[in-house]
Amino acid sequence: MGSSDERVVAVIMVGGPTKGTRFRPLSLNIPKPLFPLAGQPMVHHPISACKRIPNLAQIYLIGFYEEREFALYVSSISNELKVPVRYLREDKPHGSAGGLYNFRDLIMEDNPSHIFLLNCDVCCSFPLPEMLVAHRRYGGIGTILVIKVSPESANEFGELVADPSTNELLHYTEKPETFVSDRINCGVYVFTPDIFTAIQGVSSQRKERANLRRMSSFEALQSATRSLPTDFVRLDQDILSPLAGKKQLYTYETMDFWEQIKTPGMSLKCSALYLAQFRFTSPYLLATGDGTKTAAVIGDVFVHPSAKVHPTAKNLLTLNYAQIGPNVSISANARIGPGVRLISCIVLDDVEVKENAVVIHAIVGWKSSIGRWSRVQGEGDYNAKLGITILGEAVTVEDEVVVVNSIVLPNKTLNVSVQQEIIL
């Protein structure tokens, strides 16, 4: 059992502008971790999950973005959740474990007994308190969240083999070519401070080898790590793989949903997953309505309090309120006109959707304008390159224009219909 002295620190890796290029064009305007899913910035979901950890002392966000990009968010979320959140900028790449090690002094300031490490672009239920309980029971230096996936898709991830009775991590391979296991690494971990020793160990080993190489050409024939800087330590290959089978690392399996948010299409899918989760954890966040006094809401829908869903235009009497959902998220100050139909979409801040327009399987960028009777539609294949339609910031779709399975970069005006195109 943890005593009240056992403080916990959480670290969320948020990446940087040169990574996650697959998230363009949305990431041209906003750091990916701040892109909203189910009405909240992506990073908000792991952050609020951390809030459920007993004795949480501090949350650190570590990434390569400029400090100013996170300054506002970090101060407002600290106030809102009443837990200190701080953004730390890595000056150069240190690898997924090296980044943690780089800030160890700060992390250890609160003398935490446990450190959670999460990846921001993971979408899941974050069962962090349960992981901590299991971790304490196992008594290792780290516990990894794992999930079972289809054997065909397993090789896109890190595959793990665990002992079915002790849950010890026996084997770990990153993106293997042949089938190893259908359990994969979710990118969510809990460690004891011993992890820093382990990381330092890898770092020292590399230094030694580097020195040796200067002295002997034998080492010149050695491993792929010869080109890595000594302080670049990868969690998967350098820590998890070597420590597997040594009774140091354990696994905790989640039966809930898990996805990686690599592309805008996946952000739409994950937004729906989080909206569905809200129905259980915080149903007051979801919109309701039957179309008589406000929009008709179908399924899980988030509407920001400042968004306006209009009834009638001019002096018409019978035109309906919009019909919204399922899986729709509407951000601040958006305006939705009468007779609009929104299905499976994210409508970002300040968007105007005019009368009778239809948006299905799409992301509509900030300040965009969707014309009367226009149609913005994707096929709904979240993994395909052009599987959903994405409109960048300030895109205008003129009246009656149809946009299908396309990506439109910011500030474009579409006055003719397009299909299966990337509009620069």
Partner: protein, 375 residues
Amino acid sequence: EHFRMKALILVGGFGTRLRPLTLSVPKPLVEFANKPMILHQIEALKAIGVSEVVLAINYQPEVMLNFLKDFETKLGITITCSQETEPLGTAGPLALARDKLIDDSGEPFFVLNSDVISEYPLKQMIEFHKSHGGEASIMVTKVDEPSKYGVVVTEESTGKVERFVEKPKLFVGNKINAGIYLLNPSVLDRIELRPTSIEKEVFPKIAAEKMLFAMVLPGFWMDIGQPKDYITGLRLYLDSLRKNASSKLATGTHVVGNVLVDESAKIGEGCLIGPDVAIGPGCVIESGVRLSRCTVMRGVRIKKHACVSGSIIGWHSTVGQWARVENMTILGEDVHVCDEIYSNGGVVLPHKEIKSSILKPEIQKFQLKLNNKKE
């Protein structure tokens, strides 16, 4: 003066280019601008005093005959059918109908192609025919791409036809045969009862004798035998209606451009209709609907917030809420497009339900069923 004139309308065959509409109804009875195609021609003939119209058909006379009896009574004109048992081409049917076309009056008779829509300036054609004293007169019309058709080369001052050139590779002229003829009875002596082409066999002979004259058709012309031209033709026709009989066109804040609405159709609030739209009898257009460049046949219901453009919606079909139907979508009879569906150029055979979007033009296959139940 012309009371005893006769006319032959070449109706021809199965109307395959206007499928799926012609799967339900013979082509001459398919409505254009809310009136059966053939009625446009019959009315034009009646207006200048033609007393008897012969329809040269080779298909489904029974269905036609019922309608024709109706027109006969209403218009006070005699309508008979001349049925080919084998295809006779564009001239053979005249020979087949010979007895119906000539009598002792010696008057010339009209021959019209049933797919053609125009202002039918038949009175002017009669005067032209009398003035040149030749054996045959044809209307020609100016087109942008003459090589798609047969070009008629004429002497400019008199209109005397010099020759016909089929699909010329080099430019020889831009006037093509408009499918409206006025022929002296003696022309029938030149036509044998066998498959014959009037353009390739009969007219060239008359032209060689310097007895064939061509008049440039004033006003619009369109061959509406296929959907794309049907839709363009509606625009031309409604343009002409605006000039000559604008009271027939719809007005109102919800109307843009030229729109024809049957008096029994209902249009909801917040709609935007037009330009170039025809809405047939008994149609219900619910609120918030956008229609442009389209034809909505009898009994169709377009549900709320839907948007239809550049398309033809067949009889008794429905288009669901928020559906988008465009780009030469042709719905046959009794087709139901579900809510929120997008059809981009879908061609849908009768009695089908469209439950998933059609992103690219394609024909929705018809599945043979043992009974006639809707799928």
